[in-house]
């Protein structure tokens, strides 16, 4: 069934990694096959942060296979070489796990399409996120396990979205885990709770328009769908409103950019969402207990209505 959570601080920063961990852990009964975070940290905005993987953490139902660390090392070398070829300078490099890396990159071209295609042409390599404040971290296990593994507790930022996954549409692996990056737009991420029934029709149409899919998870469609709308000049909110009719099925999803957070709920209102909104904080989740993990005092919350789209700025 999956659980989603998100929060945005308006006018200040906070320990969003810690806060989102609490929210997602409160939702772990909705699925702990994998957990993912999209965190928008405080940065100077000069360099790109690229989170990528050079291998898989393989769980139940995955079509991927476990590989030796030497394979990961080889792929990393090729990535480094390609970055050098494209004029991207690695400022800082962290290898958090054998298959998971974080690079701070100086790269001056605005179009990330060619860049991403080049890096992802290496078999087994996937960019999880590329942005000047966005960092997507996802792996198998519940929120606390992933938070501890990647040391996310201390990350300070303005907003974040996350996902606790019960795998139903595809295997248990990192590539099928949420959040999904809004490729090739920097700093765009999506999490989703629900099922999309016109996934393949939309996927074929979008692939014919040059869009890329990395998994067979229906939720990835939302990120690609919105990215395509934005590529054609739509604003984020316009793209989200179009998705209410363009996407078929039941869904509640969150999308975040470097300075905003949005939610959309399908016209059947079949997937839950509870929302708290004040002047300085918006927090939302599949269940109220997610919000209570950061706001234990009595507060006013509500369910957004069917077909509702909302976007908040930091």
């Amino acid at each position: 069934m999956c659980g989603i959570a998100g929060l945005i601080h308006r006018g200040k920063s906070s320990k969003v990694g810690h806060e989102l961990q609490g929210m997602l852990q409160a939702l772990k009964h909705r699925g702990e096959d994998s957990t993912g975070y999209a965190l928008y940290g405080d940065t100077d905005g000069k360099n790109f942060i690229m989170r990528f993987k050079v291998g898989e953490n393989v769980g139940e139902g995955s079509t991927s296979v476990a590989e030796d660390v030497s394979v990961y090392d080889e792929r990393k070398k090729i990535v480094d070489g390609y970055l050098n070829e494209m004029g991207a300078k690695i400022i800082k490099e962290e290898r958090i796990l054998p298959y998971s890396l974080r690079y701070e990159i100086e790269y001056n071209k605005k179009d990330l399409l060619e860049f991403s295609q080049k890096i992802e042409s290496i078999p087994g390599v996937e960019i999880l996120s590329m942005g000047k404040s966005l960092e997507v971290i996802k792996d198998l296990g519940n929120a606390k396990m992933v938070c501890d593994r990647y040391n996310l507790d201390k990350l300070v930022g303005t907003h974040a979205i996350g996902h606790a996954r019960m795998a139903t549409e595809s295997g248990v692996d990192i590539k099928s885990a949420h959040p999904f990056w809004g490729y090739p737009f920097s700093d765009v991420s999506v999490v989703h709770n629900g099922q999309l029934t016109n996934y393949w029709n939309n996927r074929r149409a979008l692939e014919n328009k040059g869009m890329r899919f990395m998994s067979e998870c229906d939720s990835e469609l939302i990120a690609v769908y919105l990215a395509e709308k934005m590529r054609d000049g739509a604003s984020l909110e316009e793209g989200m409103k179009e998705s209410l009719t363009g996407l078929d099925g039941v869904f509640t999803y969150f999308v975040a950019t470097k300075d905003s957070l949005g939610m959309a709920k399908d016209t059947m209102a079949a997937k839950p969402l509870v929302l708290y909104e004040s002047d300085d904080l918006v927090a939302m989740g599949s269940e109220e207990i997610a919000i209570r993990s950061i706001l234990p005092q009595e507060i006013d919350t509500y369910d957004p209505f069917d077909g509702e789209v909302k976007v908040w700025q930091i």
């Binding site: 016209t267 059947m268 209102a269 079949a270 839950p272 509870v274 269940e287 109220e288 207990i289 919000i291 209570r292 234990p296 009595e298 006013d300 919350t301 509500y302 369910d303 209505f305 069917d306 077909g307």
Partner: protein, 284 residues
Amino acid sequence: MANIKSVSKKTKAQAMGMHTEVLTGRTQQKFFNPDEAENFYYFGTHDVDFNKRTDLDVKDMTAAEANKEIDNLMGQGYGTIVIKNPQGKHSLGVGILNKLNLIFEGSLGYFGMGSCDGPIVRINGRVGWSCAENLMAGKVVIEKNAGSCFGAAIRGGDLICKGSVGARTGIDMKGGTIIIGGDAGAFTGFMMQRGRIIILGDVGINLGDSMYDGTIFVGGEIGSYGSDAVDAELTKSDQDWLKRKLKVAEIGENFDVSKMKKIVAGKKLWNYDNLEPTEKKGAI
């Protein structure tokens, strides 16, 4: 055994247009012997004194522990119980088959007050999905908003939300009354079979979709009508009943009920009758 012919007389509810079918099935018959005392014992009930009051802090309890403690307190005769720090926990207050004054100082998660029969409940907060599902009797008042599937499949009692509610309010309800002070989402009254829903605010799309029977009253705008939901005349007796109900519910006492819309089943989708399966065999 009750005489099944006696129910063929038009009841007051039928005269008011609340339902129109004549109930003749076996479900209307009563099978008990007044000489057998065990037929009057209701499993899981206690003698309680409403003047005997206590607080229960459930902050560090699971829902199962909290519900068991409520049952223990009723067993000790407490008739008024105040629950502190519910903090959005799911499934609190379920399965209470007793007269009881229950007050929640805070919000509940999903399935709060499910399958209850008899308690008077006040929730000084919000409730999540499926509040008071399958309520048989009693009164549940929510001071703030409620999630989707509010009052799903209730069979009796009064369920009142002073704020707004999500989608599918009163889905599959078979009796009782649901009163909403604010707005209601899509598919309100979806497949309802009996009972009444009152919404003082606006309501979303597909109102009363595939409703078999029952009545929906709406004070605000209607997003759209569902399949087989149609307007009906708001009678004087409807208005009297609405006024009385809103007053008892402590909600919208001064609301102008004369401008409310009344929605009932068009009965074009009806493809069932009142016979029980065994009776159908006999008829064939």
